[in-house]
C-alpha cells in the first residue's frame, strides 16, 4: 500500500471467471485488493487505499433460484433483477423485491448488487431489513472452503461486517415459509424516490390456526449503527393474538429499542417517531397478508 497516495488511483484491475480464481487473486493482493461488483459505492467514495480491483461480476454469481429448500440469490445479482424476479414476487419474499424497487435510481439499480449492498454494511442499506426479516443465511467462500453465516451475526458496526479478509460472499439463501406468513417492507426517505432511508422497516410473522403469531421479526434500518431486530417487540407478539392494541404496543416498544442519530437526513427524535408509525403500519399489513 502506498500511504502517500491522496487520490483514487488503483493500479490493477482483474476480471476472474471463477470463484476459485477470484479468491486466489485476493490472496495474492491480500494487502490492497478489493472485490468490485456494481461499483456504485466504490466510485462514489473513491477510497484512496484501493490498489487492485477484482471484478466479481463474471463469476456466474448472478442468479435467483427457488427449490423446496427456499430461494438462493447469487451475490452479484443486481437490484434491477431482484426487483422484477418472478420468484421474489411470491409470499414473504416480496419484501426483498420491494426493497430492491426502492433502492437508488433506476440507473444505480442496473449496476448495484445485493452482495455489495450488504457487504458495504451501511446502516441504511435497503436490502438488510428485508434479509433480516427473512432469516437469510449468507454463504461465504474462501480457500479454506465454504461457511454459512446467519445474517443476524453479519453486521458488526457501521461499514463493518463479519466476513474475513480472505472471504467472498457468494450466495444469499432464504428459507421456505409456511402458508399464512405475512410480511411488509416500508421505507421512508425525505422525498418519494431516489433517497437514502430516514428509516426503513421490514416485518414478518406467521399466524397459526389458533390465531396466534409465531416467528415474528421486526427489523429497522438507519436507526442504529447496524440494521436492528427489535427483539423485545418481537417477543411481545410471539404466541399472542395479533389485535390492534397489541400491534401498537409492539411498535412503541420497537421504537424504544433503536438508537438513532441526528444527521442531514433527519433528527433522532423524528426517526424515533417515524419508526413507531411505520412499524405499526407494517405489522398491520403483515397480519392482513397472513390472514389472506
Amino acid at each position: 500500500m502506498n500511504s502517500t497516495k491522496t487520490i483514487f488511483r488503483p493500479s490493477g484491475y482483474f476480471k476472474p471467471t471463477g470463484v476459485a480464481e477470484a479468491i486466489q487473486l485476493l490472496e495474492q493482493h491480500s494487502e490492497d485488493g478489493w472485490f468490485l461488483a456494481g461499483g456504485t459505492d466504490l466510485l462514489v467514495e473513491k477510497d484512496v487505499q484501493v490498489e487492485v480491483l477484482i471484478d466479481i461480476t463474471g463469476l456466474g454469481l448472478n442468479y435467483i433460484k427457488s427449490d423446496d429448500q427456499g430461494v438462493k440469490i447469487g451475490a452479484a445479482t443486481t437490484f434491477a433483477e431482484i426487483a422484477v424476479s418472478p420468484v421474489l414476487q411470491k409470499g414473504p419474499y416480496n419484501i426483498l423485491a420491494q426493497a430492491a424497487q426502492q433502492m437508488g435510481t433506476p440507473q444505480v439499480r442496473n449496476m448495484a448488487t445485493i452482495g455489495g449492498n450488504i457487504c458495504h454494511a451501511v446502516p441504511s442499506a435497503d436490502s438488510a431489513p428485508a434479509l433480516l426479516a427473512l432469516d437469510a443465511i449468507l454463504k461465504a467462500t474462501s480457500k479454506a472452503g465454504e461457511r454459512s453465516l446467519n445474517i443476524t451475526e453479519f453486521f458488526l458496526n457501521v461499514r463493518k461486517d463479519a466476513l474475513r479478509k480472505d472471504e467472498l460472499l457468494t450466495e444469499i439463501q432464504l428459507p421456505m415459509f409456511p402458508d399464512h406468513t405475512g410480511a411488509a417492507f416500508i421505507k421512508k426517505g425525505r422525498v418519494a424516490v431516489v433517497d437514502l432511508a430516514v428509516v426503513n422497516t421490514a416485518v414478518r410473522l406467521i399466524i397459526d390456526d389458533s390465531n396466534t403469531c409465531h416467528g415474528v421479526r421486526i427489523v429497522l434500518g438507519a436507526v442504529a449503527p447496524v440494521p436492528l431486530r427489535a427483539v423485545k417487540a418481537e417477543e411481545m407478539l410471539e404466541g399472542k393474538e395479533p389485535q390492534g392494541e397489541l400491534l401498537e404496543k409492539a411498535a412503541i416498544q420497537a421504537a424504544e429499542e433503536i438508537k438513532p442519530i441526528s444527521d442531514v437526513r433527519s433528527s433522532a427524535e423524528y426517526r424515533k417517531t417515524l419508526s413507531r408509525v411505520i412499524v405499526e403500519r407494517a405489522l398491520v399489513e403483515a397480519v392482513a397478508q397472513a390472514r389472506a
Partner: protein, 153 residues
C-alpha cells in the same frame, strides 16, 4: 494502461484505459462523446446516463474496464439515417428542453423505458426518469413528450 473494446453507437473502438477511468471519462475525453454530460459525478443526477446492453446506467459509476466488450448507446446514437428518434421529435414539439443539460440522459432513460414497456402509464414514465434531475424543473413537458412518443408507437 490496458486496451479495451467499446462498441459505441454501433462503432467499435479500441481504447487505452487505466483502472480508475470511468466509462464517462473515456466516452468524453477519449472518444469525444461530449453529448454524455458530467454533472454530479456520483450517480445522483443522471446527466451521464448511457445505455449499456440496453439498460440505463450512470456512466460516472462504471469503470471503463467494466464496460469492455459491451454495447453502449449515447444520445448521439438515437437518430438513425439522419432522422431524429421519435422521442427527440417529441421533446422538441413539447418544449421539453430548457437548458438542455439533462436532455441526453432523459432521452436515454425514456428510450430504455419504451423499449421495455411501449405503453407506460404516467406514473411509470415518472419512475423511469426518477434518476434524472432536470435543474430547470421542466418535468411536466418531459413527461408529456415521452407519453406522446409512446402514444404514436
Amino acid at each position: 494502461m490496458t486496451t479495451i473494446t467499446l462498441n459505441v453507437n454501433d462503432n467499435e473502438y479500441e481504447v487505452e484505459v487505466a483502472p480508475h477511468h470511468t466509462l464517462l471519462d473515456v466516452l468524453r475525453d477519449k472518444l469525444g462523446c461530449t453529448e454524455v454530460k458530467n454533472s454530479c459525478n456520483q450517480g445522483e443526477c443522471g446527466a451521464c446516463t448511457v445505455l449499456v446492453n440496453g439498460k440505463p446506467v450512470s456512466s460516472c459509476l462504471m469503470l471503463a474496464m467494466q464496460a469492455d466488450g459491451r454495447r453502449i448507446i449515447t444520445a448521439r446514437g438515437l437518430a438513425q439515417d439522419g432522422k431524429l428518434h421519435p422521442l427527440q421529435e417529441k421533446f422538441i414539439e413539447y418544449g421539453a428542453v430548457q437548458c438542455g443539460y439533462c436532455t441526453p440522459g432523459m432521452l436515454l432513460a425514456a428510450k430504455a423505458l419504451l423499449d421495455e414497456n411501449p405503453h407506460p402509464s404516467e406514473e411509470e414514465v415518472r419512475m423511469a426518469i426518477s434518476g434524472n434531475i432536470c435543474r430547470c424543473t421542466g418535468y411536466q413537458q418531459i413527461v408529456e413528450a415521452i407519453m406522446a412518443a409512446a402514444a404514436e408507437q
